[in-house]
């Protein structure tokens, strides 16, 4: 048993823009981040320092340019930086949850199905998955009349709460939160703070970007400084 659920070693990322004459934009250089179960690490640094890029690398959305992203996945240690597409899909199903800033809207799919999807992917029976999804949506003050509607027509705040419900409906060993409270009112912010505390108590290793200083101070166990690559 080690004391981390997620750990990066010498993580690098640069973008090579072929269409701009091959210019190289270094973003991350040698990031070493270690997050323990039950801990919430807030990424800290000026705008453009690479916080979102780091989050996307941790989710496998961006490919790492170098270094390792180690995970506890299914009883073993897996290097996400070297994982193939099958393994990344399995990691996203079982190990890493991700709440992005914006909901990627899938046309015509009811909100409750969007929220239940992570449970369904793990094989939870449909009735149970929908019930748990509806309960989570209720907690986030999404009224039942919205559950059966596709979120495409929802307001920004409602979409964000659908996104949060989807992120918190299933327990994750690692949970990535990219500005989870950005477009929420005070009451819903409180709900999200509670949900994060519950996730920590349940043993999730949480990594977040929180622009809201109040929320950050309340949920973050510690800060992790992200510095622009030289």
């Amino acid at each position: 048993m080690t004391d981390w659920a997620l750990r990066t070693e010498g993580l690098r990322k640069e973008f090579l823009l072929h269409l701009q004459g091959g210019v190289r934009i270094p973003v991350l250089d040698g990031v070493g981040l270690s997050v323990a179960p039950g801990e919430c690490v807030a990424l800290h640094g000026p705008s453009g320092a690479g916080k979102s890029t780091l989050m996307r690398c941790l989710y496998g959305n961006y490919g790492a340019g170098g270094g390792r992203i180690l995970l506890r996945h299914g009883g073993r240690t897996l290097d996400l930086a070297a994982a193939d597409a099958q393994e990344v899909r399995a990691v996203r199903r079982e190990t890493i949850g991700y709440v992005s800033q914006f909901l990627r809207v899938i046309p015509r799919v009811p909100a409750v199905q969007v929220v239940a999807a992570p449970l369904r992917a793990r094989g939870v029976a449909e009735a149970e998955a929908l019930a748990r999804a509806a309960a989570m949506m209720a907690r986030l003050n999404l009224p039942p009349r919205l559950h059966a509607l596709p979120p495409a027509t929802f307001s920004g705040g409602e979409q964000q709460r659908v996104n949060l419900a989807r992120g918190f409906v299933a327990p994750w060993p690692v949970l990535l939160l990219d500005e989870p409270t950005a477009s929420l009112d005070a009451a819903n912010r409180e709900v999200v703070v509670d949900l994060i505390e519950e996730a920590k108590a349940a043993g999730s290793a949480v990594v977040g970007i929180f622009h809201d200083a109040d929320v950050r101070e309340r949920v973050a166990t510690r800060l992790f400084e992200v510095r622009p690559a030289a």
């Binding site: 823009l17 961006y62 597409a85 046309p107």
Partner: protein
């Protein structure tokens, strides 16, 4: 099941001086949707035809693992074995309904044909099945006895999907299924495909030049150019963090996929 359902290794095929396939390899896993994207002439449709056994590569292997786990070398199957596989375990959705439907046969007959080819001989049950599939692809079951000629383009494509999926295939080949449709109709069709693929746990090879379709449907994307796979990987990574110059061009030329 362990291992890919379909695996291709080092496929080569040239038409005269044109290298349609120049060392292409790929794996398709059970339940996985892989989109093959690229511009016209990139070799993506040729690749689909080779994988489905309709064209023979000059070299390389295509291996299909059937429902019993038996491996078949697709490129050297007999016509009879190939036809048996393609009607029992595979489905095809073509760009043109003309290629995928019998326009002079009723909607019910179109859906029932593959079942009848597999030995179904109960008229009443064939009709029940066809009606159920019309509902699933959002066509009024009252149109069961209508000819597809009288259907809109979007309905024809949905009928084609019902016809392809009615036998419960494990692997479905789709060649530009939304090509030639209005944008609003495309969205509905894509969404229907997405839902059915997830529900039926299908392995799908989707050829498309529509990046938005690939993002919506595919778990993984292969980018082809001039007969080669220039980039391959997780769908969102290929589109959000493209590495190859050609992929960057392809992604940047799409308006907010």
């Amino acid at each position: 099941m362990n291992g890919p359902i379909l695996a291709a290794r080092d496929l080569h095929l040239a038409f005269g001086g044109l290298r349609a396939l120049d060392g292409v390899s790929l794996d398709l896993w059970p339940g996985e949707v892989v989109a093959i994207v690229g511009e016209s002439g990139s070799g993506k449709s040729t690749l689909l035809r080779v994988l489905a056994g309709q064209l023979r590569p000059q070299s390389g292997q295509v291996t299909y693992r059937d429902a019993e786990g038996v491996a078949h070398a697709v490129q050297s199957l007999s016509d009879a074995a190939l036809r048996r596989l393609s009607r029992a375990e595979w489905g095809f959705v073509h760009q043109s309904p003309r290629d995928g439907l019998r326009l002079g046969v009723s909607a019910g007959g179109n859906i029932g044909e593959r079942l009848m080819a597999l030995g179904a001989r109960h008229y009443g049950r064939l009709r029940e099945t066809a009606e159920a599939w019309l509902r699933r692809v959002e066509i009024d079951p009252g149109r069961l006895d209508d000819l597809p000629r009288a259907f809109s383009g979007g309905m024809q494509q949905r009928l084609q999907i019902a016809r392809a999926l009615v036998t419960g295939p494990r692997l479905v080949f789709m060649d530009e299924p939304t090509g030639g449709l209005d944008v609003s109709v495309q969205a509905r069709l894509l969404d229907l495909i997405r839902a059915l693929v997830a529900e039926l746990d299908l392995a799908v090879l989707l050829v498309t030049h529509d990046i938005a379709a690939a993002r919506l449907l595919a778990h993984r994307i292969l980018v082809m150019r001039r007969g080669r796979v220039v980039e391959a990987g997780l769908a969102d990574r290929v589109l959000d963090d493209p590495q190859h110059e050609y992929t960057q061009l392809l992604v940047s030329s799409v308006i907010a996929a």
